[in-house]
Amino acid sequence: MKKYIIQSIRLTLVLIVLLCILYPLSIALAGKFSKGNGDGEKITKNGKVVGYALLGQSFTSPEYFWGRPSAVGYNAAGSAGSNKGPSNEDYLKSVSDRIDTLLKYNPTIKKADIPADMVTASGSGLDPNISEQGAIIQIKRIAAIRKIDERKITELVVKHTDGPFLGLFGPSSINVLKLNIALDELK
């Protein structure tokens, strides 16, 4: 028994050096050569950091494309989903309120145009994406407020739609932050 205890202690120490120091440090070192240097890729606008490419942020003003509802208000230091069950009455009420809000700000659309992702909270609370349909229903509103031709904005949406991976696998999506930066540059 005593032999096993001593072997356990020594083996643990050796493995800590290998697995907790050498392994993570070498990955961190390699990460220096990645986009964002392993710290997370930042997005700048006019030389100022306005966010991280992968992290969604809150857009509530009508002249921007909105992202998805977030259970944590896009808090990037406390990610979480709503964890609301599908039959929860309070939850269904909040979805119904979100539908009303969308209809109010986008009076030209119908209920059946609204995709589920625009009225449901994401798993992380930081979803950077919306579906293509989620952007399309907002085009008219933004065009009216910004007094820009609708077609121009539609083109922008199409340009910013990332298709399935390799054109074959998974859903299409739009990065809301990048789309809104491009929108501001549109004059």
Binding site: Y4, S34, P86, S131
Partner: protein, 572 residues
Amino acid sequence: MNTELLGIIATFLITLAIAVPLGKYLAKVFAGEKVWTDFLKPLENGIYKLSGINTKEQMNWKQHLKALLTINLLWLVYGFFVLIFQDKLPFNPDGNPGMTPDLAFNTIISFVANCNLQHYSGESGVSYLTQQFVLMFLQFVSAATGIAAAVVLFKAFRDKTTTALGNFWEFFVRSITRLLLPLSIVVALILTFNGTPASYEGKDQFISMQGDTVNVSRGPAAQLIAIKHLGTNGGGYFGANSAHPFENPSYFTNVVELVAQVIIPMAMVIAFGYFIRRRKLGWTIFGVMTIGLFLLLIPMLSSELGGNPALAKMGIAQTTGAMEGKEVRFGPAASAYWSTVTTIISTGSVNSMHDSTMPMSGTWQLLGMMINAFYGGCGVGLLNYFIYLIIAVFISGLMVGRTPEFLGHKVEAREIKIAAIITLLSPFLILVGTAISSYIFTNYGDAAWAVQPKAWLNNPGFHGFSEMLYEMTSSNANNGSGFEGLGDNNIFWNLSTGILIFLGRFLPIIGPIAIAGLLASKKFIPESAGTLKTDTKTFALMTFAVILVLNALSYFPALALGPLAEYFTMLK
């Protein structure tokens, strides 16, 4: 065919394409045959030398268990104290506090046991030191413990009659040097170069386009995320686990993480067949497990792709499926596939929030964890399946009126008793645990705990019951995922699930190894015309029936009170 379904088919095929050769490779590694990674021998010899280990020393099954339990106990003590004192230790750039003793108790058992149930949140509950020197460390060694335990079982059935079952330390170290570490390096690099942070920078702050000040948690995440999947651990770096855009940046990384968590459990089954020179048996087991996967996956896909009927009534478009708790970049299909594999193989990482999935999906998630043997966790999945096998051998033996045999060894009363105890253990722990928690919720709602029992549940009614049932099931199965709405960081849940995880980990390791050790020491009976063959389709069906009947009998009432009841009320 739509691109979302195509995506999961491709993921499954890639998994197979890697797991099969990996299985053959593992059989060779553990048999000590020549493999291309033998250039790592000097590293291993160095480890043995520094640790005072002589790998020539053969152990019997009891010695194996002694070594396994000793080192696991050591990790429990070591980790517990680091977690409590993390605020006073270095590498805590975000200034996170030390854990309370009950939370540390839960967390350390959870990570030693390969469960990775998390009652803390990664961003605010642990320091960088804890993430790397305790949590990530345990993700490596707990997976290696499971694999080494399974290899003891391999050894027991390779030779005719033997008590010498190899050296535990050798199996354990090789699991790390030949398998977990190299694969982790590959996966961690892929993640890093696709956007996952890997450096030691602390929190960042920026002003968003709308002028909000946003704090961003970062840190050495890629390293941990790699082993969290390869080792079927599942404990995430960030609170939202693999739904977090840093933890799982794109559809591509999602495929990588999905493949990473399944390849070793799959490969272990194939390795078993090759190692004991009964490939057909290996493939038969593999077949049963794969059918199990699809039987759970297909209904889960259909319920998620169908969307939430309550939202459909509101008149919105759910073209791709249910989206609450899901990320747009993965979509419902890849999320449903993830939910299935993460529950059957005990990873317990999530890329969507299970609490918000449809009631029928919840049923399949629970059932996957209750069965816990379709591929199963690293090494331990096979051990769990072995118990079902022994029960199936016993029942078949009774049916044809002969003494049951498995691979040339008589299965007698002692082995069956052990198997029966292990089989009954899970329903006992899960159901009693859920019953006690329900009792406290209803009768002691005002107890002055960190989270008052009346505030435990995030959802009313049947779904609330499911939250408690899920937590207990996940703990016992060493899965670690949760219906995360549950307010679980308080003394009741920390202690109760801690105990469940501990028993649910070590008894199902001790039981199968004891049975295998006992069988291996018995006289070998050569196969004859009267031998019950365990590698036939009939026997596969028999095992499947045993799995189904045992679990249905044990859990149907509980499932009926939770997700099934919710499903039927939603039909109205």
